[in-house]
């Protein structure tokens, strides 16, 4: 394992020190329990958004704390959901009296920890609503499984709901916006290489020089299928077709197309992926109203990418375009 780290046990703590030092103008980092809040929290009268999850997905979630996006993020250990005490402390720190939304990616660990946190917060009188993100079409959706994973749509939900909250919309409306994003977004990911969890010290899975995994998550989980590597044209087809067919996205739809890098794939490749995706969507009569290209929800140093499509309407487009000022996403201010 080669990484720019000191001790595998201290990766998250040292990363948080770096974030605190770098972005002190935007965020405040609390240690024990770990959470990151915007410097002006709590914003009175504004619905607060709290998210969190394992570390290793940077800039998500800590990099999305700030004006127009999250009020707080709770970083867990690498690929490990944070704990209820972190979420409780973060929730209290950002509660501005208008209620708090927990944005929870649909993983058993995240769901249970956020559930315990919400119970704790509610028992002390804080109004908390939880929203699940489960946009990964690589996973079978069934009542008898853990359901779909939350992946790329999380970034979009945090941005769009953050804008809604910034407009001082009430709790219920912010929650509705979250659900609307989730209902209209679908994602799929693939990996050319595995990642290595620092504390584990070796790659989570082994891939041959000519193999790739299709349908991976963001935690180094193996995907649904191992295949021979292929030209990116074919890879994009393998990813985008199930996405488009699932919602389904239809001719005439306008979408936000999000091409995400897994952490080890450079921008030059992501632009080629985007080029292929645009051709595919052209062929289906689907317009790309907005796009986001880059490493926003990563899986350590994994090489690979994911594609997320979100069906846009005027409301979502307007909220996407609204100003945002966070370490990881910034425009309009």
């Amino acid at each position: 394992m080669k990484k720019l780290i000191n001790d595998p046990e201290n990766v998250v703590r040292e990363e948080l020190s770096g974030i605190a030092r770098a972005h002190g103008d935007l965020v405040e980092v609390h240690i024990d329990p770990h959470y990151i809040v915007r410097t002006d929290a709590p914003v009175q009268g504004k619905v607060a958004l709290v998210s969190g999850g394992g570390s290793g997905h940077e800039p998500m979630h800590g990099g999305f704390v700030g004006m127009g996006m999250l009020d707080a993020a709770c970083p867990g250990e690498v690929f490990t959901s944070p704990t209820p005490d972190q979420m409780e402390a973060a929730t209290k720190a950002v509660d501005g009296g208008a209620g708090v939304v927990h944005i929870v990616k649909n993983y058993t660990g995240d769901v249970m920890n956020f559930e315990m946190a919400a119970e704790l917060c509610r028992s002390e009188g804080t109004e908390v609503e939880s929203v699940l993100v489960d946009d990964d079409v690589a996973v079978q959706d069934s009542l008898y499984t853990a359901g779909r994973r939350g992946v790329g749509a999380t970034v979009l939900m945090e941005k769009i709901a953050g804008a809604a909250a910034e407009q001082r919309r009430p709790l219920k409306e912010v929650v509705d916006v979250c659900r609307k994003v989730n209902d209209n977004a679908r994602s799929m990911g693939m990996a050319l290489t595995s990642c290595t969890v620092p504390a584990a010290g070796k790659p989570t899975f082994e891939l041959g020089e000519d193999e790739m995994e299709i349908g991976i998550g963001i935690h180094g989980e193996p995907g649904r299928e191992r295949r021979k590597v292929a030209p990116v044209h074919d890879i994009v087809e393998m990813m985008a077709t199930p996405i488009v067919d699932d919602l389904p996205f239809k001719s005439g739809d306008q979408v936000l197309a999000f091409v995400n890098g897994m952490g080890g794939t450079p921008l030059i490749e992501l632009y080629i992926v985007f080029h292929e995706l645009a051709s595919l969507l052209d062929g289906r009569g689907i317009g790309i109203g907005r796009n986001l290209i880059g490493p926003y929800i990563t899986s350590l140093e994994m090489q690979g990418c994911s594609i997320t499509l979100l069906k846009l309407d005027d409301e979502l487009t307007g909220l996407w375009d609204a100003p945002v000022k966070t370490p990881g996403l910034r425009w309009g201010v």
Binding site: E77, F79, Y107, G109, T204
Partner: protein, 222 residues
Amino acid sequence: MPPSQLEVVVTVTHDDVVRWIRAFADVIAKNKDSLTDLDSAIGDADHGINMNRGMTAVLAKLDGDGSADIGALLKTVGMTLVSSVGGAGGPLYGTLFLRLGAAAAGKEELTDQDWVAMVTAGVEGVQSRGKAEPNDKTMVDALIPARDALAAAVSAGEPFGDALRASAAAAEEGMKATIPLVARKGRASYLGERSAGHQDPGATSSWLLMRTAAETLGDHED
């Protein structure tokens, strides 16, 4: 047939419980890598790391503990796991120990009946938190057989040590039985059919918990 109620036999002391917890921490540390390896195959390569972080935190808490209340002790263990493990393991093992603690609230000594009641409450907690059924390929597949074997042995009047050993053996069998299963809960469920052929990491740590109980509490004189 109701259990024989000849006299109340103290089976487990506060010190015993502390020894059990310490031994479990030790076993987790020793099996950290192998648990993580199991989790690499069908999960995200952290189960051993997570459990070890939690049990290390628990050990630090034990050092400062002066009370003799077994319920309080187990509650502390549960709270510490909840706030240090994270992932699926944290709430599940945390809830398990919190429920053990609640069932032992105020007690400074435990009978074998108490133990059965505690384990029953703990397993119930895991199920109500995680909603897993038997054969979902989770820790529940080790815990339920363990609880059932324990309850049966105690109600049949078997010596407590034998009951704990029967419980551990049942956990081991349940753990092994997870290998062919297709996961329906937790992260392994994302793999669908590809999850078959691998032993569930959580069932493995649950077996270690039961085996440690047999090893540390099972030599107690009845």
